[in-house]
C-alpha cells in the first residue's frame, strides 16, 4: 500500500475503537491497518462479491445507521461503524430442488416453501438494506405472483450478504427466496441442445481420449517420457 504521509488520517470509530485511517482506504483496510484482529466478517477483501463484511455505518449528522459492505465503503471522517455478524438462516424454508420437476406447480411450490412472501407489507426495509441496490421488495412481490423469470432477473447481482433477511419484519428471507426462484428457473428450463448432444455422444463412447496423440506430447520429445511423478504411494490400501 502507498503511504500518503501528506494527507492527514481520517478519524472514525469502529466497533468502539477510535482509529485513524489513511485517506482512500476501505473500512476493511482501515480496521486491519489499525492493528485490530480480523478473523471473521471478511472474505473476498474488496471485490464485493462475497457479502461477508457487512457493517452498520452512521455518518456525522445522520440519525439512523445504514448497511454497507466494509470492503466497498471508503473510510470517512466522523463515521461510526460496527460489524454485523454473520448469522446463518435457521428458519425452515426448506425445499429439494431435485424433487421439483413439475413446472405447472411452481407457484404452489413458492407458496409452500415461502408462505410469508404473500405477507409483504411494502416497508422497503429490504431495499434500503441491500448494498447492491437490488429491488428486493419487487422481487418478493413478483415471486409471490409466480413470475419466476422476472423475479430471478432482479436478483442477478445478489452477493448473499443476507442483509435483506435481517431487515425483513415478516421473516420472508428474501435472499433465499431470490435464490429459490433463480435456481428453479435454471433447473427447470435451461436445456442447451449442444450440451445435450455432446453428453449423448460421450455416453455412446464417441469421444475417446488418446494419450499418445501428437498434440498430447511435447513437440520435440516424441518418446512417452512425459509421464509425471506418481502420487506418494501406489495402489489402494
Amino acid at each position: 500500500m502507498a503511504d500518503n504521509a501528506a494527507t492527514p488520517p481520517v478519524r472514525l470509530v469502529f466497533e468502539g475503537h477510535a482509529i485513524g485511517a489513511e485517506a482512500g482506504s476501505s473500512l476493511l483496510q482501515a480496521w486491519a491497518a489499525a492493528g485490530l484482529p480480523l478473523t471473521e466478517n471478511v472474505g473476498c477483501m474488496g471485490q464485493g462479491v462475497c457479502g461477508a463484511c457487512r457493517v452498520l455505518v452512521r455518518r456525522p449528522g445522520e440519525r439512523l445507521a445504514g448497511t454497507a459492505l466494509a470492503c466497498e465503503t471508503l473510510a470517512e471522517e466522523g463515521m461510526q461503524v460496527s460489524f454485523l455478524d454473520h448469522f446463518p438462516a435457521r428458519r425452515p424454508h426448506a425445499y429439494d430442488l431435485h424433487a421439483l420437476t413439475d413446472s405447472w406447480t411452481a407457484l404452489d411450490q413458492i407458496d409452500a416453501v415461502f408462505p410469508e412472501a404473500r405477507n409483504c407489507r411494502h416497508c422497503s426495509g429490504c431495499d434500503r438494506a441491500c448494498p447492491k441496490g437490488i429491488e428486493v421488495q419487487r422481487m418478493v412481490n413478483l415471486a409471490a405472483e409466480g413470475r419466476a423469470f422476472s423475479a430471478a432477473a432482479l436478483f442477478d447481482h445478489c452477493v448473499m450478504c443476507n442483509l435483506c433477511v435481517a431487515a425483513c419484519p415478516e421473516h420472508i428471507d428474501p435472499a433465499h427466496l431470490g435464490q429459490f426462484v433463480r435456481r428453479m428457473s435454471a433447473a427447470l428450463t435451461l436445456r442447451p441442445a449442444d450440451l445435450i448432444s455432446r453428453l449423448r455422444e460421450i455416453e455412446q463412447g464417441g469421444q475417446p481420449i488418446d494419450f499418445e496423440a501428437p498434440g498430447a506430447n511435447p513437440p520435440e520429445a516424441k518418446a512417452p517420457a512425459a509421464s509425471p511423478p506418481a502420487a506418494g504411494s501406489q495402489g489402494r490400501p
Binding site: 480480523l38 478473523t39 471485490q47 464485493g48 466497498e72 509421464s227
Partner: protein
C-alpha cells in the same frame, strides 16, 4: 527497474496511437519466461528438506511453512469435545461444497468445517468461466491437448483425461443444482446453444460463463444446496490445525480450532476431504493477490505433515491483469474475459507488446518485462500497463455495460469510466498450479485422505488455463466426495491421535530445522491474529 513513463504522458501516447496494431513478442517464449517470470528469479526456489517429497523444488515462502511444527500437542486433544462423522470436509469453497453434497447424497453423515463462513473462497471470486468441450467443432481430445500444452506438458495425463471427460456432465450437474449459464445471442433456453468464448491458449471456443461473475453464480447455487442438504452439519469459523491419525497411519479426521469459543474440537471421521484452496495470501515474491482472505496454504501444510506427496509447488500463477492503481484496490482482478473479448494491452509508448491471448504465464512475464525495461506506466507509487477497455468498447459497442458488468463496476469504484480511460494493470498472484498429488479419485496416497480443488496438483502442470479451475473443483469435488463416502463405509479409524507428529519432529530436528516455527498460518499477518500466540505456542 526504471521509473516508468508518467501516467498522463502514457495516456497521450495511447490516444495518439489507438487502436495500436498487434505486435509479436521480439524474444522467444522460453527466454521471456526465464528472464521475467517471478518463479525463475534467484532465491525463489529451494528444495524441500523433509517429508514425502524431500528434494522437490518448492517456492521458498511455502517451504518455510512446510518445514514447520504443529500448533497442536497431545495435551490439546486429551479433553477436547469430539464430533463424529462418516466424512469430514475441510473447506467451505466450491470444491468443499461439491464434495460434501456428493458424499451426503451417497448416504454419508458429513461434517463441513470452514475457516471463515460457508462460501468465502476463491470460487466466489472467479469471473471468467468454466471450460467444457460442448461445441460441435470441439472435442474432449482438444480440451485434453490444450490443457496439457498450456501446462507445458507437466500435468498428469490420467487426471487431465478425467477432468475434460467430466466437463459436459459437470455443466449438466450444475444446471441441475440451479446454476445458470449464458446462452448464445438469440438462443432459446430450451434447445438453444451455450455462449462460448475462447480462453487464452485454447484452440476452440470452450469457455462457458454466467456474465462475468460465473463463480458467484456457482457459489450461490452450491451454498443454498449445502444449507438445505440433510446430512451435512456445517461448522463456520472452524479452521483445521492438524489432521488426526490412527495407529495404522490412516487419516482419522482433524483437530479444529473453534474461533468463536477459542478452543480445540476434534472431528473424527472415516474419511477426510481436504478442500482448503490456495496460497495467494502468502504474497509470494511480494506480489499483491487476487485471492480471498483465507488463502494461506493450510491444506498443503496439513497433508504434507501426514505423509502426502506434493508436486509443482514451485509453480504459481501470476494473473496478468491485476489492478495496479488505485492502491486501495491493488491486486484485485480484471477478468481475463476482457482480453478474451478482445481488449488489448498497451505499454507507456502506446504500443502493444504481446499476443493478449497467449497463456497467462507468458502474458504476465511480458508485462513484467515492459515494466523492467522502462516502458511501464507510473501512477502514484505503482507501475503497470494499460488494459485498453475504451478500445474494446469502440470495437464492440455496449460490451462493457452488458457483458463485462463486474469490470465496469470495478472501474467505477476506482473512480473512472472504463469506456473512457484504460485500466492500469500489473500481474497479481492468482493461483497455485501445483499442490497435493492425487489419483483420479482424489486420493492423496494417505489412507482416508482425499483432496479436491486448488489444494491439489497435477491437473494444470506448470500453468493453468482460464476456466479449468471451476471445472476442476466440481469434477474432483464429486470424485473425492464419492470416493470418501465409499472409503468411510469400508474402514473406520481406531485409536486416533497425533502419532505422525513424533516422526515429523524427529525429522525436523535431524535436519536442524527449528521447532519454534508453527504452521498452518490460518490468517495472513496483517489480520493481527497469530494462531501460535492464541494457543500459547508462540516461540
Amino acid at each position: 527497474m526504471s521509473g516508468g513513463i508518467p501516467h498522463a504522458e502514457a495516456l497521450a501516447a495511447w490516444r495518439a496511437r489507438a487502436p495500436a496494431p498487434p505486435q509479436a513478442l521480439p524474444l522467444p517464449v522460453p527466454d521471456l519466461l526465464e528472464r521475467f517470470h517471478p518463479d525463475r528469479q534467484p532465491g525463489a526456489i529451494v528444495p524441500l528438506r523433509i517429508g514425502a517429497s524431500a528434494g522437490l523444488s518448492c517456492r521458498a515462502e511455502l517451504a518455510a511453512l512446510l518445514h514447520s511444527d504443529s500448533l497442536v500437542e497431545d495435551l490439546d486433544i486429551a479433553g477436547a469435545p469430539l464430533l463424529e462423522a462418516d466424512v469430514l470436509v475441510i473447506g467451505g469453497g466450491g470444491a468443499g461444497c461439491v464434495a460434501a453434497l456428493t458424499a451426503a447424497r451417497a448416504g454419508a453423515r458429513v461434517l463441513l468445517a470452514t475457516k471463515l463462513r460457508l462460501g468465502d473462497s476463491n470460487t466466489v471470486m472467479a469471473e471468467g468461466g468454466i471450460q467444457a468441450a460442448v461445441g460441435a467443432e470441439d472435442s474432449l481430445q482438444r480440451h485434453f491437448e490444450d490443457t496439457l500444452r498450456a501446462g507445458h506438458f507437466a500435468a498428469d495425463k490420467a487426471l487431465v483425461a478425467a477432468l475434460v471427460s467430466d466437463g459436459p456432465a459437470v455443466i449438466r450437474w450444475l444446471i441441475q443444482e440451479g446454476m445458470s449459464f449464458d446462452l448464445a445471442e438469440g438462443s432459446e433456453r430450451m434447445g438453444g446453444t451455450l455462449l462460448r468464448k475462447k480462453p487464452g491458449g485454447a484452440t476452440a471456443a470452450r469457455l462457458l460463463s454466467y456474465r462475468d461473475f460465473t463463480g458467484l453464480e456457482m457459489m450461490r447455487a452450491l451454498r443454498e444446496a449445502v444449507l438445505l442438504a440433510p446430512g451435512i452439519t456445517l461448522l463456520d469459523r472452524h479452521p483445521a490445525l492438524e489432521l488426526l491419525t490412527d495407529d495404522r497411519g490412516r487419516c482419522a479426521g482433524a483437530a479444529l480450532h473453534d474461533l468463536g469459543q477459542g478452543r480445540t474440537v476434534l472431528a473424527r471421521a472415516g474419511a477426510t476431504v481436504l478442500a482448503t484452496g490456495g496460497a495467494g495470501r502468502l504474497h509470494i515474491a511480494g506480489f499483491p493477490t487476487s485471492n480471498h482472505y483465507g488463502a494461506t496454504a493450510d491444506g498443503l501444510v496439513l497433508a504434507y505433515r501426514l505423509g502426502a506427496a506434493l508436486r509443482e509447488v514451485d509453480s504459481f500463477q501470476y494473473h496478468p491483469t491485476g489492478i495496479a492503481w488505485p492502491p486501495s484496490m491493488e491486486g484485485q482482478l480484471v477478468s481475463e474475459a476482457a482480453r478474451a473479448s478482445g481488449a488489448t494491452l498497451v505499454n507507456g509508448l502506446g504500443e502493444r507488446f504481446v499476443d493478449e491471448l497467449e497463456t497467462r504465464d507468458v502474458v504476465a512475464a511480458a508485462i513484467l518485462r515492459e515494466i523492467a525495461e522502462g516502458r511501464g506506466i507510473a501512477h502514484g507509487s505503482g507501475q503497470g500497463v494499460f488494459l485498453d477497455t475504451p478500445g474494446l468498447e469502440r470495437a464492440k459497442p455496449g460490451i462493457l455495460g452488458k457483458g463485462l458488468v463486474t469490470l465496469t463496476h470495478l472501474a467505477r469504484r476506482a473512480g473512472f469510466d472504463a469506456a473512457v480511460e484504460p485500466f492500469l494493470v500489473r500481474p497479481t498472484l492468482h493461483y497455485q498450479n501445483g499442490g497435493i498429488a492425487i489419483d483420479p479419485e482424489g486420493w492423496s496416497g494417505v489412507p482416508g485422505l482425499f483432496c479436491a480443488g486448488e489444494v491439489t496438483g497435477g491437473l494444470h502442470g506448470r500453468n493453468r488455463m482460464m476456466g479449468n479451475a471451476l471445472l476442476e473443483l466440481v469434477a474432483f469435488g464429486r470424485r473425492a466426495g464419492r470416493a470418501a463416502a465409499a472409503d468411510a463405509r469400508a474402514e473406520r479409524p481406531r485409536n486416533i491421535g497425533l502419532t505422525h507428529l513424533a516422526d515429523w519432529r524427529r525429522a525436523l530436528i535431524a535436519q536442524g530445522l527449528p521447532l519454534t516455527r508453527k504452521a498452518p498460518l490460518v490468517f495472513p499477518p496483517y489480520g493481527n491474529f497469530d494462531m501460535a500466540t492464541e494457543r500459547g505456542r508462540a516461540a
